[in-house]
């Protein structure tokens, strides 16, 4: 199956640019998550691919075929919505059969495809059940079964877990992962939930204000944000950002911040004088005793977070940062004043335009 390619795609609603001049490819056999806050344009993009919105300008290709002007029903796209669409009063089997009947698929093949879909989604036992007796996950599974049974070229998911409770989300995610490995189509999955995207995606396209900020494999996106926005949006809490100063001395650039014990050598060009240091809460080292390269900081607050870890809010020169600590000692828990280090390998630098500058940082040897 070919990929989907969008070329300079734009959608305007009156004065609002929902999708802004996007060029991008969705590879076959991969799950691409469109991730971003509400209003970033991810759903509009999905709807344009489905043919439910007409682009203001630009094109959508499926392989070499231009889909842009094609009616939705001619696109051969399967779509799963936020609210599971099932027809009540008829069986699960019939629910899956309906779109196949509409497409005039012969009976033998119909039967075969339905059974295939039921098996893929582990719904065999529910086939004869009336769909109104199903729980939310099973209902959503039925919508997925229907979407895949007519062998669409592309499957689109629009926040399919929004209305599913926490326990069932685990089930749905499990089956989604198993299913996506078996399918060889283009799968596009829209969500605002970073954990969902990190868990399910082969690649994440992060969006903000109608543009694509960055597209990478999940861990790369998390570890190597190309913009401040990516560092902030991923992670719970997101990256800390601290203003820092870039100084020149003796032909070398060095980075100065009150969170750094001594200036760092920077091996790069094109750095602004005022830059931003980004560092993730779990990468900050905190101790109650002094250690090499650590600076003194005050503990403002601490609270319990995911998995019984502690989130320390610490302050240096009236700037607060959040640090995640896994198993704090009693001494650390009681300390009002602590020592912190930003390990150089975890520092990410951003210019004033919020874009990342790749730079090797090293401590100045004395």
């Amino acid at each position: 199956m070919p990929e989907i390619r969008i070329d300079r795609l734009t959608k305007r609603f009156k004065d609002v640019v929902a999708v802004d001049d996007l060029t991008f490819s969705f590879p076959e056999g991969q799950v691409t998550c469109l991730l971003g806050p509400s209003g970033c344009g991810k759903t509009t993009l999905l709807r344009m691919i489905a043919g439910l919105e007409t682009p203001t300008s630009g094109s959508i290709y499926f392989g070499d075929v231009d889909l842009t002007q094609l009616a939705p029903r001619k696109r051969n796209i399967g779509m799963v919505f936020q609210y599971p669409v099932v027809y009540r009063g008829i069986s699960v089997y019939k629910n899956i059969e309906l779109p196949l009947l509409k497409r005039k698929i012969p009976q033998n093949e119909r039967k075969q495809r339905i059974e295939e879909a039921l098996e893929l989604l582990n719904l065999q036992d529910q086939a004869t059940k009336d769909s109104s007796q199903l729980d939310n996950v099973s209902r959503q599974k039925v919508s997925v079964a229907r979407a895949i049974s007519y062998h669409p070229d592309i499957i689109l998911f629009d926040e399919p877990m929004t209305n599913i409770d926490a326990n069932s989300k685990v089930q749905f995610s499990h089956f989604f992962k198993e299913l996506s490995k078996k399918l060889n189509q283009v799968i596009v999955y829209v969500t605002h939930d970073q954990t969902e995207a990190m868990t399910l995606a082969d690649q994440i396209a992060l969006m903000e204000d109608g543009r694509m900020v960055q597209c990478n494999e999940p861990r790369t996106l998390y570890n190597e944000p190309e913009e401040v926005f990516g560092g902030w949006f991923l992670g719970n809490p997101g990256m800390n950002f601290i203003d820092a100063h870039c100084a020149q001395s003796g032909g070398n650039d060095s980075l100065i911040s009150s969170f750094l014990k001594s200036p760092l050598n920077i091996a790069t060009n094109g750095l602004d004088r005022e830059v931003t240091i980004g560092i993730r809460p779990e990468h900050i080292k905190v101790s109650e005793t002094a250690f090499s390269n650590a600076v003194n900081a005050d503990v403002k607050r601490k609270s319990i977070t995911v998995g019984g870890q502690f989130l320390f809010v610490i302050e240096v020169d009236r700037v607060e940062v959040k640090a995640k600590v896994s198993h704090p000692s009693n001494e650390l828990m009681n300390a009002q004043s602590v020592w912190v280090e930003f390990p150089v390998e975890h520092i990410v630098l951003f210019n004033q335009n919020q874009k990342r500058v790749h730079a090797e940082l090293t401590y100045v040897r004395k």
């Binding site: 970073q194 868990t199 949006f233 977070t305 995911v306």
Partner: protein
């Protein structure tokens, strides 16, 4: 510090349905008390009783040392932030925030500085001339908070004000709310069904479960040393594992047995006798299960049902001998596994808590230096 609110044996029912039963709670003047419970556990009812929008069927509510039984809602003087922003669509943000003061018939010259101060505390000064439709969800919620705190009083109620907002907005607003309470030094009584929000905001947490308050304490105490099954069951993310078990005796020691492990327990001092045998529930926090590399005969093996990546942590859902287990660990520590892999795990039973199955009361906990 003085107590400003007290619930004494308060119960509330709607026709035959008991919603709250024998609620006892006292809140200090400068407290940030979170009332934590699952959705529809009766948190809103508790707030409405305090505001006077509902009357209790039994018990008393004491507000600033006075019994409220005959006190109308109007004179209770309590600030309130609802879950639903409920902004008035055709009025400016200024007027929306000023609304409670207009109701009190305050003169405009007095209203203006108060509204501006509330707006500045929540960094929404530049929105005052706009209409609600021009605001984003997070901005609207800030306006709702500003409107709730504009009334100058000493008690403010918050009914799950961040529910339904996306998690990045919540992250910011949690910081704002915490700071706001410190600045105002007032009593905040705050209902939520989010465990991390509770643990982050609260000076003290009251856990509301099955109609009644099962435990009250500061976050660290009740998280690390829970005395009721419901507390460890619902307060924590990811939620704790609950395993069926029973008490057995081995010589003079008390042991607990589940379908895949056996471990000695230290019985709490206040528990007089432990019946033998006795059905219990063992609560295991996801962080007390560790992945181990390599394998030896002693360790347990489990299959990965799902691995969720939170960025800084991973949550792993496991199947082990017909039981489901959830574990969490900082993902930087070990290599990644995925669905279908088999891994070896070890558990530190010192962090296991054992509760009587029928009552949820604690019997004891695992002892140190015993690894399953």
């Amino acid at each position: 510090m003085d107590t400003v609110v007290e619930f004494r044996g308060v119960s509330k029912k709607y026709s035959d349905l008991m919603v709250l039963e024998d609620i006892n709670l006292s809140i200090r003047q400068d407290d940030f008390m979170v009332i934590y419970g699952l959705p529809s556990s009766g948190k809103t009812v508790l707030l409405r009783l305090l505001m006077g929008l509902e009357a209790p069927d039994a018990g008393d509510i004491i507000l600033r040392r006075e019994n409220v039984r005959h006190m109308s809602p109007k004179i209770r003087n309590i600030g309130y932030v609802p879950q639903d922003f409920a902004l008035i669509p055709h009025k400016t943000i200024f007027e929306n925030i000023a609304y409670p003061l207009r109701l009190m018939k305050k003169p405009t010259r007095e209203i203006k500085p108060v509204v501006e101060r509330a707006a500045s505390m929540l960094s929404i000064e530049e929105l005052l001339d706009k209409l609600p439709t021009q605001l984003s969800g997070g901005q609207k919620q800030r306006v709702a908070v500003a409107r709730g705190v504009v009334k100058e009083t000493d008690i403010y109620l918050f009914d799950d004000p961040l529910a339904g907002l996306d998690f990045k907005l919540r992250e910011r607003l949690i910081d704002d709310l915490r700071r706001l309470q410190e600045d105002m030094a007032a009593c905040f009584f705050y209902a939520t069904s989010d465990p991390i929000e509770s643990l982050t905001l609260a000076a003290s947490i009251a856990v509301l479960h099955e109609r009644t308050i099962c435990e009250i304490g500061d976050p660290q105490t009740i998280y690390f040393n829970p005395h009721h099954l419901s507390t460890i069951d619902i307060l924590g993310f990811p939620r704790a594992n609950l395993l069926d078990g029973r008490i057995i005796r081995k010589a003079s020691e008390v042991w607990c047995q589940t379908n895949f492990l056996e471990f000695p327990i230290a019985v709490d001092a206040e528990v007089a006798t432990v019946e033998n045998p006795m059905d219990v529930t063992v609560a295991v926090r996801p962080e007390s299960i560790q992945k181990i590399l390599g394998r030896d005969e002693k360790c347990l093996t489990a299959d990965i049902y799902l691995r969720e990546d939170l960025g800084a942590e991973e949550i792993i859902y496991l199947n082990i001998q017909d039981s489901n287990l959830t574990m969490v660990n900082p993902s930087s520590q070990t290599g990644h596994n995925d669905v279908g892999d088999q891994i070896s795990i070890s558990m530190n039973t010192a962090s296991f808590f054992v509760f009587e199955k029928d009552t949820g009361n604690r019997i004891g906990r695992g002892v140190d230096n015993f690894n399953a």
